[in-house]
């Protein structure tokens, strides 16, 4: 454990002494690790061996007769901790649940040194007693909460009682500003100049110091956990989470403190330095990349809006083949692929439908064909369905053109020119082989016990196990849980990737001059 006497631990305002034992001293605030904490502040606590910090509210702070410092922490639950009781409900990404009820898991006493940093939590409950937060505050908050989780009933409660863990509810709701002269302002890096210099502007330091710990540590973990490797050099060093709280980290409060010490003692920098929030790092990188683009932008000229519009009903081209009942798309896809007439269109709006895509492709084909007297050939398209693994930002569709040349020219046209949809996104076309529809024989994850000793009776051969919900006391259940964990992890990582991509795309969109 870090020797806090070096770190500038100082007691702040005293609150009183114990009733039974007058040697116990209660306090209202203290200075620890360069940060000032007050009673009812929300904090992170790291436990050895746990990848994620716990989040709690300080509801009591005291020093024992033997000079050990302790805090009582009222816990917040993350959605992942109470997922069983949420059902199908999807809590917000940064939503927490305050513990309530009288029982185990409500609050705990901990050594003060377990505190790893401050956390900014806004209460979004619509309760009349709760001062409502402004949109700016909501934006800056690390987490929000509006409901509690009862540790006795194991239920999510909407209503907040008068007292939780002996704390009056007014200390649980948002506090009105200017309490005790410490402004509850979180300075995002943009606004604050020199977080280093102002040791007393505790809140300003807390966020950056939290963040810079994580990106630096995460760099190592990112490389291994997310396997982005060499292919994605840009992404390394970016945290996988905008706010930097949710990714797994190695724990150990001692090493955390050392880390923080080190950086706090560095010479102050005028720029934001390592305190860039991960989002800003991303922005800087992409800004760098896109700088070259801005040089090319010529002065505005009148953009004649020569959109071709699809209005209902779409003019149907009489194609002499339309009276044929066409075989299903999948079959034609394979043949088309062989013949070279299959094109994969990317970067579509994910909400598009196959018919709309078909219209789009006629445009592609048409303009190439003004010379050929506007041959309007219909092509068929299939919009690929969105799944849990596909990107939410763009949609894809397979298009079958009539001829190989048509397909080739379309792709070339899309490469050299820019066919844009109303929101500015350009279509991308390429040749891509679809998956063969054959069945795969093995399924990763399903295990079979081969038992050559047992004779295969006709009965056992034909018996097909259908579905099965396993009980918690079996090995199967444990294994299933491991799979669940893996699935969740994969989901999470994929989500993060798409989020990062979303941010990149937003940057690009911002560059588009208004039409």
């Amino acid at each position: 454990m870090v020797d806090t006497s070096d770190m500038g631990f100082k007691w702040g305002k005293k609150r009183g002494v114990g009733v039974k034992n007058r040697e116990i001293k209660y306090y209202e605030s203290f200075h620890f690790d360069g940060v000032e904490y007050n009673l009812y502040d929300d904090v992170y606590l790291y436990k050895e061996g746990e990848p994620e910090p716990y989040i709690g509210k300080l509801v009591r702070i005291w020093e024992t007769p033997n000079k050990t410092r302790r805090v009582k922490v009222l816990w917040f639950f993350r959605p992942c901790e109470i997922v069983k009781y949420l059902g199908t409900e999807q809590p917000l990404e940064n939503e927490l649940f305050l513990a309530s009820g009288e029982g185990v898991g409500l609050a705990n006493d901990n050594p003060l040194e377990a505190i790893a940093g401050k956390c900014h939590i806004i209460c979004t409950s619509k309760d009349a007693r709760n001062p409502q937060p402004s949109p700016e505050e909501l934006q800056k908050a690390d987490f929000v909460f509006s409901r509690t989780f009862d540790v006795v009933e194991y239920k999510i409660m909407d209503k907040i009682d008068e007292k939780i863990a002996g704390t009056e509810v007014k200390n649980i709701f948002n506090r009105s500003p200017n309490r005790n002269g410490v402004e509850k302002v979180i300075c995002p890096d943009k606004e604050d100049e020199d977080p280093h210099n102002n040791a007393l502007l505790s809140e300003a330091i807390v966020k950056p110091s939290d963040d810079h710990n994580r990106p630096l540590k995460k760099r190592k973990l990112d490389a291994s956990e997310i396997f982005l490797g060499n292919e994605l050099k840009n992404d390394e060093g970016k945290s996988t989470d905008a706010v930097g709280h949710q990714t797994p980290l190695q724990s150990g409060s001692a090493s955390e403190n050392k880390f923080r010490n080190k950086n706090l003692n560095e010479s102050p920098r005028g720029k934001r330095g390592p305190f860039l929030k991960p989002e800003e790092k991303l922005m800087e990188l992409s800004r760098g990349k896109l700088d070259e683009v801005s040089y090319h932008q010529s002065p505005q000229k009148d953009d004649k809006n020569n959109y071709e519009a699809l209005q209902a009903p779409l003019p149907i081209d009489v194609d002499k083949n339309t009276w044929f009942k066409e075989p299903p798309f999948e079959e034609r896809m394979q043949t088309a692929c062989e013949q070279g007439t299959l094109v994969l269109l990317q970067n579509l709006d994910p909400t598009y439908v196959s018919t709309e895509v078909e219209f789009v492709t006629t445009i592609v084909y048409n303009l190439q064909d003004i010379i050929q007297q506007g041959l309007k050939e219909k092509c068929s398209a299939k919009m690929l369905p969105q799944t849990t693994t596909s990107s939410p930002h763009s949609g894809q569709a397979f298009v079958i053109f009539k001829t190989k040349e048509a397909a080739k020219t379309a792709i070339k046209k899309l490469e050299t020119g820019c066919l844009v949809l109303p929101d500015g996104r350009p279509l991308v076309g390429c040749v891509e082989t679809p998956c063969s529809p054959g069945k795969q024989s093995t399924f990763i994850g399903h295990l079979v016990i081969s038992n050559p000793k047992q004779p295969q009776t006709r009965g056992t051969k034909e018996a097909v196990s259908t579905s099965h919900c396993s009980q918690p006391n079996t090995i199967v259940y444990d294994m299933a849980m491991e799979w669940c964990l893996l699935q969740q992890k994969s989901d999470f990582v994929l989500d993060k990737l798409y989020k990062l991509q979303g941010v990149e795309l937003k940057k690009v969109r911002a560059l588009l001059k208004s039409k």
Binding site: V353, P385, P426
Partner: protein, 200 residues
Amino acid sequence: MASTTETEYAAFLEKVKRTVYVDNLSPQVTEPVLRTALDQFGMVKNIQFITNYIEPEHIPKRALVEMEDEEQAKAIVKLIATCPLMIVGMPRPVRACAAKVEMFEDRPAKPGRKIEVRWLDADDPNFEVAQKWKKIDKRHAAEARFLLKQQKAEEEKLAKQQADNLKANFAKYEMIDAIMADGTAARLAEYYGLNLRDEA
């Protein structure tokens, strides 16, 4: 290709609400199997497997299961979230979530929507941006593919690990069974003076 009427679209939206998206299905799961599996939760009206056109081959099968009403759909999602359900094989459980409009392959177009496309002139200020965007999009696609490949590697690792574990455990049980069966256990018990019968 006339745009669909409002009512048709509304009916489709309603269908979406009643549908559950199920994935992590083994290739051996067929429609009747899935139907039987989910019938216990309510009335399954329709099952449609999502064809995998472009994703890497190892992606397990996915299906859209249309239930009789929204409540049943919600109940299924909730149950599968809490208790692992395995279909035609253990131990990899299936996953379920509420279906979304974009998951349906043959969905009707939103009525009243205008699709507009145009070609950008080369000296249009947005041209370069669009080119950039295209490159970014290609890269994103590559990134996603790469990630999925990695996930496959992880899955294989887990499967292998579990298989090894299982084999080891099974071997242990077999061994115990064997010595019980052929009397070795009994003899040893006599030798050591232990009482073999369970006295729990």
